[in-house]
Symmetry: C2
Amino acid sequence: MPTNREIHLASRPQGWPTEDTFRLVETDVPTPGPGQIVVRNQYMSVDPYMRGRMNDVKSYVPPFALDAPLDGGAIGEVVASEAPDVAVGDTVLHNLGWREYAVLGATSARKVDPSLAPVSAYLSVLGMTGLTAYAGLLEVAAMKPGETVFVSAAAGSVGSLVGQIAKLKGAGRVVGSAGTAAKVQRLKALGFDAAFDYHDGPVRESLREAAPDGIDVYFDNVGGDHLEAAISALNLHGRVAICGMIAQYNDTEPPAAPRNLAMVIGKRLTLRGFLVNDHGHLREEFVRDVAGWLREGQLSYDETIIEGIDNAPAAFLGLLRGENLGKMLVRL
Amino acid sequence: MPTNREIHLASRPQGWPTEDTFRLVETDVPTPGPGQIVVRNQYMSVDPYMRGRMNDVKSYVPPFALDAPLDGGAIGEVVASEAPDVAVGDTVLHNLGWREYAVLGATSARKVDPSLAPVSAYLSVLGMTGLTAYAGLLEVAAMKPGETVFVSAAAGSVGSLVGQIAKLKGAGRVVGSAGTAAKVQRLKALGFDAAFDYHDGPVRESLREAAPDGIDVYFDNVGGDHLEAAISALNLHGRVAICGMIAQYNDTEPPAAPRNLAMVIGKRLTLRGFLVNDHGHLREEFVRDVAGWLREGQLSYDETIIEGIDNAPAAFLGLLRGENLGKMLVRL
């Protein structure tokens, strides 16, 4: 067996993580026990929610352990198997990223067909990222045809799909915000009706210009100013699907909160936080829709791919700084 | 016709209203035109939402006009009628309170049977107040049997009904907060499992003691600290029905907002603002339930009654200061 390289959590960050938050560790690749497989990871995912897991606080998933490998979505090829249903050469999706070789029970892996789509797509448009966009927009926010949808971090992996799916499902108008002029250009190319760089002025004003008749749905990846602006812009019976609040993940002080929250009463707004885990019942419908759109060329997905396990910390830090277009992945 | 006395809005308050916000004006009672009735009001309601209508801002109901009578829920006896379906002597519910005599189109009044309940009850437990509690708890927050419910301003008109209805509908535990020791005592007499005075310490700590296993539903009448504490205490998939935010109605600066709002994601919380107007479809079920509970002696309702139109401003100011137990009414 070759040597495995993996990334450990070296220290818990206060505020922004740095390279010192991580440590590259070499280990042997263990031989699989009964029912286990060994996967040579081809791609691993870095996601904003991982920042929360670096803190030692109770949450919906346990915190990462110090001096142990991080984990997260990954896809790779089976190189050894002691499980009857999985063969060497199979491609599997699993949750032991941040390492070159993963050893896990076969029941914790899901076989995928690498001939149907590039394997990276199973970590982005066809995976949790895509389902997050689909479920948040259509189930949590219950978008209806003709409505106006606003999404923040719109050039990111989830946001860019939210905007496109909204159009494909009949939204009347789709508005996105992003952090650079290039991303704003990309959003327009993806079919967004309007897009703005949130650095160009108060979000509230940019949103009012982009959606003069207000919005019906806000898909929140950001929190903070964006959420406050959305609450002001929402029409009667508007809905907010709260997917993430990346603007505040590195705050050391309690973050500013929307000071116009009382508007939820008169406007009868619904704000709903969600995790994709609760929406697995939509998977079949999601795969059918998304595979169809991809086949017809109606849905684009961007990937920003960083090379090598040693650059995985840099990929994660770049994600937090918004350096990605679409899904941020590490090729191993 | 006798003289009518009514209360006008004399000035728009900055911060807390005062007696100078109001002006008592004497007018003649107009004679009714075709289709109109004249009502001698017996009771009028003062409600927290009226504070918002004193500001000159766009909202779900238009602001009160300066130098014109205020309005709001009232009940009284018809003393003149030019409408075929309404007779002198009928008791009607309508929206022209803040005056001794109201002249209105008969279609804007609803006849009620004064033999079924004291007429004041149509402005409290059997009226909008009761329906607000019922719809907010059972439809907006979708309380299920066995759940733990927390309600703020729990000794107020809506809150005291929320707590009792929760118990009657099978809540496992009901917790209320109020602003005096006497109110806390009253909540315990009404069957609340736990109650605390929010002046006695941080709401978050008092709530944790009162509901050590967390809460599933929060019925918010207050906003501010209470909402923040509730978000911290809510269990997975918890729901907040946002009915009012009285803590901040007189603020001149943007109010503090819950700084733990990001918890809505991991806990998959739903926060929903509502107005009773949207829930009229529940009225029949509501009346059946509430009338039954009243008949069986299972539901109590408190009323704080102030005498005379000249004391209506004091009644409203007292309401904002929390001087009422249950529904605050003015007897005319």
